[in-house]
Symmetry: C2
């Protein structure tokens, strides 16, 4: 793998494992089992049916959920789920759904839900600049809510929940776009989990939805076919032409997770080590690197920090880029620096970057 | 290119040009201008902004339209457009939109439109098994329709309009999913054209929409963001993370069309030659190959035919596959044989297949 790919700290689309890229590259000309380019294989072929079937099974196995969970591969990103979910579970409801506003992305979900039905924003971190997440004592979840929605990891601000939230008698629904399959997640406690692929599990253009069977029991009919989860369930994600290539790459990533990494427990251990390295440099920097998030809510995926001044931040980003570390500029909404260390970014790449951070700080003092 | 890719007659996702596959393959590890895998480049990068900008310009140039036309790259396929279009232009209308029912795919668009507002099916070929298309004298277009919608090429039945339809004072809207950029199309006469990529212009997962500026003037607000054309126009198709890889491949295909083929006029000439070869074999076969479509309405993209019996059809498909020709089974809705000869399928591949058809027929007689 070239150095730039190895040191790609992009917030997303993010880096993918080298072995996955190599297999995807080969498939561009010839999928081994078929002999055709992956871009020219029919979505109605036996091969693609087997891809979907293996991918569904792999996701269930990695998360430890049973056949009671449907695994869907949809288009439109988390953004489409922001609408599709309330179109399905909120229209016509009298009790509001509970939504948490913990950062940029959960803030995008809220107005889309509001178009479709009543919601209550249970907690918002907006006044604090989304630097911390709420404790359980700040979250009076309603027993009457049709569902409760939150975002497990906020990529922009770098805050992440390290527990699951909510009540067992209200459907728990989580946008895990930026930490799905990065750690075990007690998936059986969720009614629905969704995640676009372009952080940990594949290229942009496909979204995984995990849904407990029965969640749609009272859902309205009459939605356009492509917005109706039922159609996608019935057809095993082949209602209309799915993004074959993106789905194939997600399959390759699940194989990598299972066969090369050994599942979500070892993946989590690696991710903790990676994040730990960077947070240790930050904590040892005597305020030179100022982490954005409160310590207890720090993200294992997105390490977001500021330097003493915008000028020094600019120099940091320029020198990092010159050294091969790319994708480090903070999200356009807040600036600063963001090191995204998704699954595919290796421990050694993070070690190199930690070393760079230390050297850069030393250079500023000299 | 291997033989299977060269002889891929799939109805879609279809074959792509060899030079495009080779460049896409290289980009999987390293986009030349960037050094990163195309799967790991941010959709907010300068590189991707340049991809979108060049692609918009290429589509306009190939079709000969001005900046008055927006070029959008969306997800969800033609299926999403079946709904997005009437959500935008039909909700709240009292006059019905005119829809033509000329085959399997236009038949999918109709119920989705009906959910959103009043439509009138101006003509249906259903009783005739969609073997022919209507003449102008059978099409009393309404001057009061909010728009008129038709499908230029029906991939399942193999019928194609060889003129544009409708009135100049009613927005003319066409699903060109299976013949977009296969021939010149007087695009300035259309208010909107849409086409998913996976026939002539790229991989599954992206849809091109060409829209005349001003068409949305009276469109309702309040749609979910991802279903609102305005959001996609304002952001140059970067409202939420777009399918970067699929869009990049479409760019490569437009470059191929412009630089290797020389534009839509020569592309059309090649496509006519290809279709002509197969229809000539059919016409000379004394009824052995029975074309499905009336001669005047034959598709240049999908050559659909039957053989004397289902058994002979089965043998034909098996022998064709053994000889390397794949993707020839007719659509599951109607069976038979379908040779899809999209842009990327070469004249020499079609010559080989024409030879195979002649030989097969001779073999049956012997």
């Amino acid at each position: 793998m070239n150095k730039l790919n190895r040191l790609n700290f992009s917030g997303g689309p993010g880096a993918l494992p080298e072995s996955v890229l190599l297999q995807a590259r080969e498939a561009l000309l010839e999928v081994p089992e078929v002999g055709l380019s992956v871009l020219g294989i029919s979505h109605r072929s036996d091969w693609f049916a087997a891809v979907i079937s293996e991918l569904e099974a792999n996701v269930r196995k990695l998360l430890g959920v049973s056949q009671d969970y449907h695994v869907l591969l949809l288009q439109g990103g988390a953004t489409q789920q922001f609408s599709m979910l309330p179109m399905t579970l909120l229209r016509g409801e009298t009790h509001p759904a509970d939504y948490l506003h913990t950062g940029y992305w959960s803030g995008k979900a809220i107005p889309e839900a509001r178009r479709e039905g009543p919601i209550r924003v249970l907690w918002s971190g907006e006044a604090d600049g989304f630097r911390r997440l709420p404790g359980d004592d700040e979250l009076p979840f309603s027993p009457d809510a049709p569902y409760m929605h939150y975002v497990s990891n906020e990529t922009v601000e770098g805050v992440q929940f390290h527990r699951q939230l909510g009540r067992d008698d209200v459907p728990r629904i989580c946008d895990m776009s930026s930490d799905f399959l990065s750690r075990p997640c007690a998936a059986e406690q969720f009614a629905m989990i969704y995640a676009h692929a372009q952080k940990n599990i594949g290229p942009a253009g496909v979204t995984v939805v995990l849904m407990r069977d029965g969640l749609l029991r009272d859902a309205p009919t009459g939605l356009p076919g492509f917005l109706d989860y039922r159609r996608h369930i019935e057809t095993h994600s082949n209602y209309n032409t799915p993004p074959v290539f993106a789905i194939y790459v997600v399959l390759l990533v699940t194989r990598w997770l299972m066969n090369e990494i050994g599942g979500l427990v070892p993946m989590d251990a690696i991710n903790r080590k990676k994040a730990g390295l960077l947070y240790r440099v930050m904590d040892a920097s005597e305020g030179f690197y100022r982490g954005r998030a409160e310590t207890k809510d720090r993200s294992l995926m997105n390490v977001v920090f500021n330097l003493p001044s915008p000028e020094i931040e600019k120099r940091f980003l320029a020198e990092a880029l010159a050294a091969g570390f790319s994708g480090l500029a903070g999200h356009r909404a807040i600036g600063g620096v963001r090191a995204s260390i998704y699954n595919a970014l290796t421990l050694s790449a993070v070690e190199e970057f930690a070393g760079f951070m230390e050297n850069f700080q030393r250079g500023q003092k000299g």
